[in-house]
């Protein structure tokens, strides 16, 4: 097709997609029965119904599954460019529809999760999102790992004890800043909540976690869909090799799990000295360190970014090695659930 036709088709389909999303949102918010006659809307409804719907922020998830459209130079002229983040069953259905509309003159690519390059993880983020700078006022900075929920409480942020609780030195109720102090975060302007739970790190014992929670203050919102969706927590890491993480210092990095159930690893912690940990996961960075100072608290996921595996607590940058606590163990200790 001609370039002008490709542009017109793209504009028409974008309008259709937008209308479809509005229909889906209306369907979910008002809990009304939607008469689905348009195949595009049917695909969107199918996508949305495959997700958990009872919280409005989750509607943002839809955006990661609806294809992005553009125009593409094809061998035979111009066509529709279709970019999909995840090749799920429902998104395939939608892509088939779009390719049909382009009379097969389309260039389809699965591009994987896309992370914004507009801001740095050290910036101030409101709403909050995973992978950004966070910390207690007496700590330099670490990483906001993920959002969790305990019965009867507001949403809480999970990160490392040595990030949120200054390695046992903080008191419950202390303010937590985003960004952390190394990234110019200051109380009260950058306070996002207060320290609500700490799993103590005990010198001379085999510790199984370095983790703490911060309950978000009224009016501090979190974006559960940014920069990608965490769908669940993997209970068993046995068959997982390729992983990724989002951290305050190194951003998104990729690695491979090298060791499981690592006992007796000693981590040097400035306040507490040499601390022994059991039950860790060892990850080797691909081509560069998987984590560096400032990345503690970051959630390790599989490469798709959908399945949460572990929390970074330390590493050896020169050897590209990082160590993490399995997230399922951490959540069990805290009696918390991943807030998705």
């Amino acid at each position: 097709m001609r370039l002008s036709s490709a542009r017109e088709l793209k504009a028409d389909l974008q309008a259709e997609l937008a209308a479809g999303e509005r229909s889906v949102v209306y369907d979910n918010v008002a809990s009304t029965a939607l008469r689905v006659t348009d195949p595009l809307v049917a695909s969107l409804v199918s996508l949305q119904r495959g997700l958990i719907l009872h919280r409005l922020p989750r509607l943002r998830r839809l955006a990661t599954q609806v294809p992005a459209l553009g125009v593409a130079k094809l061998a035979s002229g111009w066509g529709l460019a279709i970019r999909v983040q995840e090749p799920t069953g429902s998104s395939r259905e939608l892509v088939h529809y779009l390719v049909g509309k382009a009379a097969e003159e389309a260039d389809v690519k699965v591009v994987g999760p896309v992370i914004t390059h507009a801001g740095s993880p050290t910036d101030r983020y409101r709403p909050l999102q995973r992978g950004v700078s966070i910390g207690h006022p007496d700590v330099t900075a670490g990483t906001l790992g993920c959002f969790v929920q305990r019965p009867g409480r507001r949403i809480e942020v999970l990160s490392a004890n040595h990030v949120l609780a200054n390695a046992n030195q903080a008191r419950l109720g202390d303010p937590i800043l985003q960004p952390g102090t190394n990234d110019l975060g200051k109380a009260p302007d950058d306070t996002i909540g207060s320290l609500t739970a700490v799993v103590p790190i005990i010198p001379g014992h085999a510790n199984r976690a370095d983790v703490a929670l911060c309950e978000l203050s009224d009016g501090v919102e979190c974006d559960l869909g940014a920069p990608s969706i965490l769908a669940d927590v993997a209970e068993d890491l046995t068959d997982i090799s390729d992983v990724a993480k989002l951290g305050r210092t190194t951003g998104r990095t990729e690695g491979r799990i090298r060791v499981l159930e690592l006992d007796g690893l000693v981590i040097d912690e400035p306040h507490l000295g040499s601390i022994e940990f059991d039950g860790l996961v060892e990850i080797e960075g691909v081509g560069r360190p998987f984590s560096e100072p400032g990345d503690s608290g970051a959630v390790v996921t599989d490469r798709s970014g959908a399945h949460a595996l572990a929390i970074i607590i330390g590493g050896n940058t020169d050897r590209h090695l990082s160590w993490a606590t399995p997230l399922a163990d951490v959540l069990a200790m805290l009696e918390a659930q991943l807030y998705t």
Binding site: A160, T238, V259, L262, D263, E269, G315, D318, L321
Partner: protein, 74 residues
């Protein structure tokens, strides 16, 4: 070929064998080409008097110098 469970059992034996050895910085299990092995993390080479077996009950034992670990606050 060692199963994951056999590797866990061998790991416990290796931990006991290396208890108190200052050069050791963790013992875990790792995937190898065929099955599982015990992985010994070291700060530096083991002293000559402490010879690590290459296998325990058919489970391979491998060692790697990983150096010291530090907490990753910024």
């Amino acid at each position: 070929m060692a199963t994951q469970q056999r590797a866990r059992e061998a790991k416990n034996q290796v931990k006991e064998f290396l208890r108190g050895v200052a050069e050791v910085n963790g013992v875990g299990i790792t995937r190898v080409d065929e099955g599982w092995a015990v992985r010994v993390n070291l700060l530096s080479a083991l002293p000559a008097r402490k010879v690590l077996p290459s296998a325990i009950d058919g489970v391979p034992v491998e060692a790697r110098i990983v150096g010291p670990a530090t907490a990753h606050a910024g």
